[in-house]
């Protein structure tokens, strides 16, 4: 074969003509190449920049050490791992991070599993509405629970308006107000909906014939759970565990609000303070450590998916599981557990936050104490509705998260298009992998990377620090893994045939996009925009280091308010985020005509 190949090898001119015709008739090559270049710059360059700044002298340190800036140095690694301050910068935060991640994840997964079992498989009261109510914590920004906690338990250690208990004359002890206990509780309560969603989906997908087979062989319900259903949930449990651990590793808001006042630091807050105190080299090393954790989680996930593949059952007809009829004696406590979690994780915090914004003095439940002053303004200070900070940050949040979401949605579908149109080519593989890379990096680490790369002008790119462009860029890149994954699956689902059918009938690229693919992917596009929009509205850890006074977002603004002790305004800001997110979720349900459970999986 090789010999005939050589003799019939076509002339160069013929090959060039073919290549040209291919580029013209199949624009996905061009699209793919442009995307690949853009992604390489936006994803790979920041990562390289972080690696670089971890081993290069900064200007300041160079002057101090008598070296020139940019010189190779391992002093930052020494500082983080072996110096006298390493204990404070790294080792203690590492231990704290592990502790918090371990307990918060265990609790979140337990809550998620038990609630999923109750809601999908028993007749507890209000199970259909609970399916929605239990996801509410997921729609709140990550600092909501921590802020609500502070609103209730804040003691005299920190200034500003006192907590509700303090105002009632009960001073909560430090261990209850701040530190590991409240951090674990708040994280568990804000991450369990994710576990709940995944477990519910998994339980609904398990073919009921598998259970029925066990029942016909004489298994009682608890045996069915122990021997059939729970083992089948092992793969889901593994990925929920990993994803939740990954999230708690990168979490910033909760430890910042609840840990900082008592000096309880996690890796993320340590990274933040290194950066704020002008130690970018140290921050880069910490970012690398966080990134490595991310890589480890991902590799573990891949390994587990491969190992647990035998658990993926051949799809059957299935059918909705008949909810188990609990006896009244069991039904009452089961319902109480489910509703109790909702009250503690969603309703309670929302109520507390709302109450705090309509009471002049915390904890005084006299009618005269209620006022809309914090909202409308008065007594010489602006309220929420006319506070320039809040209005500006609302505008910023909407415009920044909105633009990032639109770009992300379009990019995600474009990646999907290129990947599906160019199967098997290296370009498709590259796009798939690189667009997924940011998933590895905790938001904090990624923000550090972007800061390193764009703080100074580089080539044609001006210094972006302090600009809205930087915030949009970093959001786009961070949400790209989800957007491109859903874009790929949306395009896979439609497949190549509808487009090819148009091609054969004479539709050019433009006609195919506007008349065939566009209308077919309308819903996917709206979802691909709304989901990153929601994430962007809630985003904190990613942007907290990148915002400047002119570019504050609602989330960062609420943190500022907390820093200054304006608990009420912080709460009001979070409530605004909650309302916007809720509206977006409703919009999405209307557009996709589906329930939330399918969509928020990312």
């Amino acid at each position: 074969m090789t010999t005939t190949d050589r003799t019939t090898r076509p002339p160069l001119q013929a090959r060039l003509r073919l290549l040209l015709s291919q580029l013209v008739s199949e624009p996905s090559y061009v699209i793919g190449a442009v995307l690949a270049l853009a992604l390489a710059y936006l994803v790979l360059a920041p990562m390289a920049a972080v690696l670089g700044s971890a081993v290069q002298m900064t200007r300041m340190d160079a002057v101090r050490a008598g070296a020139s800036p940019g010189d190779l140095t391992f002093s930052y690694f020494q500082r983080v791992f072996t110096s006298p301050v390493a204990q404070d910068i790294f080792w203690t935060p590492l231990g704290n991070t592990m502790t918090v991640a371990l307990f918060a994840t265990a609790l979140a997964v337990l809550f998620g599993l038990v609630l999923a079992m109750l809601v999908t498989s028993t007749n507890i009261w209000g199970r259909s509405i609970l399916g929605f109510l239990l996801i509410i914590p997921y729609m709140l920004p990550s600092q909501a629970l921590a802020t609500a906690w502070i609103t209730v338990f804040k003691n005299r250690r920190t200034g500003g308006s006192p907590g509700m208990l303090e105002a009632l004359g009960l001073t909560p002890p430090d261990w209850l107000a701040y530190g590991p206990l409240p951090i674990v509780i708040c994280l568990a309560l804000s991450y369990f909906p994710f576990a709940f969603l995944l477990f519910s989906n998994a339980l609904n997908k398990i073919d009921t014939q598998l259970e029925e087979a066990a029942v016909t062989l004489g298994a009682r319900p608890h045996i069915v759970w122990r021997r059939i259903l729970l083992p089948l949930l092992i793969p889901t449990t593994m990925s929920v565990l990993l994803l939740t651990v990954a999230r708690t590793l990168g979490t910033f808001a909760t430890p910042y609000v609840l840990g900082t006042p008592v000096g309880y630091t996690l890796l993320s807050t340590s990274l933040y303070s290194s950066l704020r105190s002008g130690a970018p080299g140290v921050a880069a090393v910490l970012a690398i450590v966080l990134g490595l954790f991310g890589v480890a989680m991902l590799l573990l996930d891949i390994w587990m998916v491969r190992n647990w593949q035998r658990f993926i059952t051949v799809g059957g007809k299935g059918g909705k599981r008949e909810p188990a009829r609990l006896t009244l004696l069991a039904r009452f406590p089961a319902s109480a557990v489910a509703w109790g979690v909702f009250l503690i994780a969603a309703f309670g915090p929302l109520l507390v936050m709302f109450l705090s914004t309509i009471m002049r003095e915390p904890g005084v439940f006299a009618l005269s104490n209620f006022s809309l002053g914090y909202w409308t303004g008065g007594d010489g200070r602006p309220g929420v509705f006319n506070s320039p900070e809040i209005l500006l940050s609302l505008y910023n949040s909407l415009s920044i998260a909105g633009s990032a979401a639109v770009i992300c949605g379009v990019l995600g579908l474009a990646v999907g298009y290129a990947v599906v149109r160019l199967p098997g080519s290296w370009l498709s593989g590259f796009l798939r992998q690189v667009s997924f890379l940011p998933y590895l990096m905790p938001g904090m680490a990624f923000a550090a990377a972007f800061l390193t790369l764009f703080a100074v002008p580089r080539g044609p790119v001006p210094a972006l620090y302090g600009s809205i462009t930087l915030l949009i860029l970093v959001m786009v890149v961070t949400y790209l893994p989800y957007a491109s994954r859903s874009g790929i699956s949306a395009m896979m689902q439609v497949g190549r045939e509808p487009e090819e059918a148009g091609m054969v009938l004479g539709a050019g690229f433009f006609a195919r996009i506007t008349r065939i693919l566009g209308p077919l992917q309308k819903t996917a596009l709206v979802t691909a925009i709304i989901l990153p929009f929601i994430s962007g509205m809630k985003e904190l850890s990613l942007v907290v280091m990148l915002v400047t006074p002119g570019t504050e977002l609602l989330t960062t603004q609420s943190l500022r308010f907390l820093d200054y002790g304006h608990t009420q305004l912080a709460n009001a800001t979070i409530l605004i985020i909650g309302v916007v997110v809720m509206l977006l979720v409703l919009l999405m349900q209307k557009v996709t005509k589906s329930s939330l459970a399918g969509g928020l999986g990312g």
Binding site: P10, R17, S25, E497, V504, G506
Partner: protein, 357 residues
């Protein structure tokens, strides 16, 4: 009408796996050609290369004098310029367009005036029994109706060449019979060349005027259906065409049967790597003749018109097909007669040997 010619066409995926291996063949004009083979044999790739949806790595594809593709001159004619109709396995009807919009899409792309489009749709709707369905959406139609919409969409632009990619595999059995007849009738009225891809040998046998059996990116044999059945050129073809499939034996496994078969064929026993016999050429007699071949009945599957009878002979499972009820019950020993025209022998490389070719 012109022939389709493929000349040394090679297609690999990712530079490694060979999908189509140096294929040179001619599909004569006006024929109903079936590309038949197991999945992964390169039949769909061949069809898609003719359609212009895939490009060969090298080689030439021509439709008469018109060059569709040539790696030597660097010619690539885009699918819409090839004046062909393509029907997909999934039909690929656009779910967001009505039946009428689907059917006239190709005409709209040619900027035909709207009234003419509507007129053409009425014509086609009558032909394919789609009257009154023009404003429906594809998901509101039955499988058979969707199939007819796909046919109408393909034929609306009056193509010179029809390419069909397993269009019947999504239909249920009774509808499939009906559609086979309809496609055959369509070919007779239009008279244009049809290339039809399928893995179902029954479809190929019943519809094609010419079958090309493909294996590992090559055409093993191309001939009229009954010639393929009666004179398979290789072990692969013999095994793939026919249901129940041909009973295959190596002389070592069942020496009695095999030597009897080579004797009937007149093939030197040492040249035959495998011998095979069609199920209908295995005749059962009530009593085993003295010194003759014998077998034990172990299953009986009546199909209504025929009986498929499972036999054990020399420790081997064989299937016989008979239009007569079996002469004895399960467990009984019966005699075997072999009909000469159903016996085939293949050499070590799977090539047919002996008088069958």
């Amino acid at each position: 009408m012109p022939n389709i010619t493929l000349n040394s066409v090679v297609k690999t995926y990712g530079g490694k796996s060979l999908a189509v291996d140096n294929l040179t063949t001619t599909f004569p004009s006006g024929e109903f050609i079936c590309l038949l083979g197991p999945s992964g044999c390169g039949k769909t790739t061949t069809l898609r290369m003719i359609a212009g949806l895939e490009r060969p790595d090298s080689g030439e594809i021509r439709f008469g004098d018109e060059v569709f593709y040539s790696s030597q001159t660097g010619t690539y004619l885009r699918p819409e310029k090839r004046k062909l109709g393509l029907m997909f396995q999934s039909y690929a009807l656009w779910p967001h367009m009505t039946v009428e919009q689907n059917v006239v899409f190709g005409l709209a792309m040619k900027r035909m005036p709207r009234e003419d489009q509507a007129k053409r749709f009425t014509e086609l709707a009558k032909l394919f029994h789609l009257d009154g369905l023009g404003q429906r959406y594809p998901r509101e139609l039955s499988g058979g109706q969707q199939q007819r919409v796909a046919l109408a969409r393909m034929l609306a632009v009056s193509p010179d060449l029809l390419l069909l990619d397993e269009p019947l595999s999504n239909l249920d059995a009774s509808l499939r019979l009906e559609m086979r007849a309809e496609l055959k009738r369509l070919h007779q009225t239009l008279g244009c060349t049809v290339i039809f891809v399928t893995h179902d040998q029954l479809e190929a046998m019943t519809m094609a005027t010419s079958i090309a059996v493909m294996n590992k990116g090559r055409i093993e044999q191309m001939a009229k259906p009954m010639d393929i059945y009666r004179h398979p050129s290789s072990h692969f073809v013999a095994n793939f065409v026919g249901s129940p499939p041909m009973n295959m034996l190596t002389p070592g496994e069942a020496p009695g049967l095999a030597s009897e078969m080579t004797k009937i064929l007149g093939t030197p026993a040492d040249r035959a790597g495998t011998v095979g016999i069609r199920p209908e050429a295995l005749r059962l007699t009530g009593q085993p003749a003295n010194g003759g071949l014998k077998a034990t009945i172990d299953t009986i599957q009546p199909t209504g018109a025929d009986w498929i009878i499972g036999l054990q002979a020399e420790g081997r499972q064989l299937f016989a097909l008979s239009s007569e009820p079996p002469p004895a019950d399960i467990g009984a020993e019966v005699g075997l007669n072999l009909k000469a025209d159903g016996i085939h022998a293949f050499d070590q490389n799977g090539k047919a040997v002996g008088p069958s070719l």
